[in-house]
């Protein structure tokens, strides 16, 4: 080993005595002062492994084993046992706000429902060849009963929108719930540059569903009929768009908490 007590060059032990001691001493002072004062590394000690080390290692091993034990089914992907990952939110729901202005609630729902309409009317409501635009349309921004009847019954025969005449056939979008109809109409009336600033309430939408029932089932409506009998606002009290409601029920919240 590096610093065993054997001569440095064991193959030529008889040359040891011939070493020029003075020369070696001089070269040490020149170049190896630090090396000359080094101690040798002695043979490694043979103390036995202490019982305390074994005992402590056993305890550590137990703790490690308990962690693997806590892992449950080790080849499974899920579910992870509690403890290593965060607990679910105590109420079980997600942690977003649960209440806010009714305008936001309806607008977001309407946005999702509009996916179905965007196939013909375009994702920005610009319309298409043969399909009238919703952006800036007088039929959308006009009286709400007339708009609701188009959505619920569908439309046939020519209709003039923004000065252009379209002669297509729109199928009925029913069945819609009152909330869905209210959300869809609120969205369309306040998007694509339309800015009516009001909402269609679920109560008003329910009134529209009642009116639709009085018409012959499955028959598309025409522009003439719309203007003749439905050119009016839907019945029902308007609601301030900023009223804070529960997002689930759309019922007004009495004591609105701050946004969590």
């Amino acid at each position: 080993m590096a610093d065993s007590n054997q001569p440095a060059d064991s193959k030529r032990p008889d040359l040891e005595e011939s070493t020029n001691v003075a020369e070696t001493h001089a070269s040490l002072i020149e170049g190896g002062v630090a090396q000359a004062r080094e101690k040798r590394i002695k043979e490694t000690g043979m103390e036995p492994v202490s019982l305390w080390v074994i005992l402590a290692s056993a305890i550590v091993l137990l703790v490690g084993g308990s962690v693997i034990g806590a892992g449950g089914k080790l080849l499974a992907y899920s579910p992870h046992p509690q403890g290593y990952i965060r607990a679910d939110f105590p109420t079980g729901g997600n942690d977003g706000p649960t209440s806010g202005p009714i305008y936001d609630a309806l607008f977001k729902r309407g946005q999702k429902l509009f996916a179905k309409c965007s196939g013909c009317h375009g994702s920005t409501g610009e319309g298409n060849a043969g399909f009238p635009p919703l952006a800036g349309s007088e039929w959308v921004q006009g009286n709400t009963e007339r708009f609701a009847m188009i959505v619920l019954n569908g439309l046939k025969d020519p209709i003039t929108v923004k000065g252009n005449t379209y002669n297509g056939s729109m199928p009925s979008q029913a069945p819609l719930t009152a909330t869905e109809l209210a959300a869809l109409m609120t969205f369309v009336r306040n998007n694509f540059g339309n800015a009516m600033g009001d909402i269609v309430t679920p109560e008003q939408a329910a009134a529209a569903l009642e009116i639709q029932k009085s018409r012959p089932a499955g028959q598309q409506i025409t522009a003439d009929e719309l203007n003749a009998t439905h050119d009016q606002m839907l019945e029902g009290d308007p609601i301030d768009p900023t009223t804070v409601v529960d997002f689930e029920t759309l019922e007004p919240v009495e004591d609105p908490p701050g946004v969590k």
Partner: protein, 496 residues
């Protein structure tokens, strides 16, 4: 003249020859490593300051938190840690194998390539081309360059080990040879799985998490332990307390080390044995830590004077105490109750800093304070510089670790409270972040003393003396601890 004396002188001559053959590459690695270290600590200070004062140095993109923090850790690992390890490994292996180094030119060239790679990687991160994978942030082109230069730097040490004549293999050599083999395995595997193979991204994240711990436990740990197992018997002149304990500690590390790391991804969609084995293995690291700690401390016992006098021994002991602390923290932080608090908080950072700086770097500093006087043939200039370096490092690292781990646990608890705002979690760790910033400035000061001292030694401006620079003032030489008789020029002129 007795045969023993002559053998001893021949030993000294051989040592001097080995040291002389290695002086350029070893000094190059230590000096460039210390330079990167100072830069890394400065970046650590900046990133820590940004954590509590986001407006600090804002407005320039290259100093944004994500880049500075990544550059800080990557420079700490590749700029300082790996280079210090290279210097230690090639010197220790040459000494322990009793072989002069014959490939100095190649090692130096490869060392320059390594530094060029680190420079390119650093500029890449700062310019916004980092990969975003922790500890692998250098742009992808850099890692093959690093791996290649690693092979050319260290292959000679392995050759020396194989060619050494007779004798049994010393404890320090086990660790050094193991580290030489483990580094390319870890480095290549991790980079292939993360950057080359088109595997599942979650799996790549798991390999990335494993890489960090494997680099700590299978590269930095064995190099640091090899250094400590060399320094302690060498400086105290005592044999290592127990061969059996050393053997136990080595194999425990070799068996346990490769499993640690993936607990970072507990809760991710991975087969559950990955994170759970990772957590268990990190707990079990306490076993080799105990074995090594007991062994080293029992070897030193009774030589408290040597510890207070010798910088090498003092730093090495500090490193070993940090290793024991690392083992205990591994146990505490990976039990089911605490692991969930560490996943998205500062805690992991504190643990990594303790491993890289408190443990590895302290042992490396010990080795550097031992090696540099031998290869430059000059003694360290200033007892005070070493002393300041030691205490600033000890208090600095202690504060960073305590602040990061405590702050991280509080942060984790605040994150668990889903109902409250995220700001609460940041507020809870605010004071601890400030503590970390102050501590980094301490460490930075200490490291600047170290860097200046080392550069002066590199310029061969050290003392020419027979007496080593010790930290304790001898009563008889109150004015000058080294005494006038230690001056080599005077001694030689007196002889003439």
């Amino acid at each position: 003249m007795p045969t023993d004396d002559i053998a001893f002188q021949k030993d000294s001559e051989l040592r001097a020859k080995i040291d002389r053959s290695l002086r350029h590459p070893v000094m190059f690695f230590f000096a460039s490593g210390a330079t990167w270290l100072a830069l890394s600590l400065l970046l650590g200070f900046i990133s820590s300051a940004k954590a509590h004062s986001p407006t600090f140095l804002d407005g320039c993109g290259f100093l944004s938190y994500g880049r500075v923090y990544a550059a800080h850790l990557n420079l700490l690992v590749y700029g300082w840690g790996c280079q210090a390890a290279f210097g230690l490994v090639i010197w220790l292996m040459a000494r322990l194998s009793r072989k002069e180094c014959s490939a100095v030119g190649i090692i130096l060239t490869a060392g320059h390539v390594w530094n060029f790679g680190v420079l390119v990687g650093f500029l890449g991160i700062i310019a916004g081309y980092g990969t975003g994978k922790p500890w692998m942030e250098f742009p992808v082109a850099v890692w093959p360059m690093l791996l290649l230069s690693y092979l050319f730097i260290t292959v000679w040490s392995f050759v020396q080990f194989r060619c050494s004549e007779g004798g049994k293999i010393y404890v320090a050599q086990w660790y050094l040879v193991a580290a030489l083999f483990w580094f390319p395995w870890i480095f290549l595997t991790a980079h292939l799985f993360v950057f080359v193979f088109n595997g599942h991204p979650v799996m790549a994240a798991a390999v990335n998490a494993w890489f960090k711990y494997a680099l700590i436990f299978l590269f930095f740990t064995p190099v640091a332990l090899g250094t400590a197992y060399y320094l302690v018997p060498k400086v105290t002149g005592r044999p290592i307390y127990s061969y059996a304990l050393a053997l136990f500690g080595f194999w425990a590390l070799a068996v346990i080390g490769p499993w640690a790391g993936m607990q970072r991804l507990a809760g991710a969609p991975l087969p559950q044995f990955m994170p759970y084995l990772g957590a268990a293995a990190t707990i079990l690291i306490l076993i080799p830590a105990l074995a090594v700690g007991v062994n080293i401390i029992m070897t030193i016992r009774g030589h408290e004077d040597a510890v207070s006098a010798s910088p090498s021994l003092r730093f090495a002991l500090g490193g070993i105490v940090s290793f024991l602390t690392l083992g205990v923290l591994g146990l505490v932080l990976n039990t089911p109750g605490t692991l969930k608090l560490t996943q998205f908080s500062l805690t992991g950072y504190g643990y990594e800093i303790l491993a890289i700086y408190g443990f590895f770097s302290m042992c490396a500093f010990g080795g550097i304070y031992f090696i540099v006087p031998r290869i430059t043939r000059r003694e360290w200039l200033s007892r005070r510089f070493i002393s300041w370096h030691f205490w600033l490092t000890v208090y600095g690292v202690g504060t960073v670790v305590v602040c990061s781990i405590m702050g991280g646990l509080f942060q984790g608890q605040a994150q668990e409270a889903y109902g409250s705002a995220w700001m609460d979690a940041a507020t809870r760790s605010y004071a601890y972040n400030i503590g970390t910033t102050i501590a980094w400035s301490f460490i930075l000061f200490g490291s600047i003393f170290f860097l200046l001292h080392l550069l002066l030694m590199w310029a061969r401006l050290g003392r020419r003396s027979q007496h080593p620079t010790l930290l304790k003032v001898d009563d008889h030489h109150e004015a000058s601890p080294h005494g006038p008789e230690g001056d080599l020029d005077e001694l030689q002129s007196a002889e003439a």
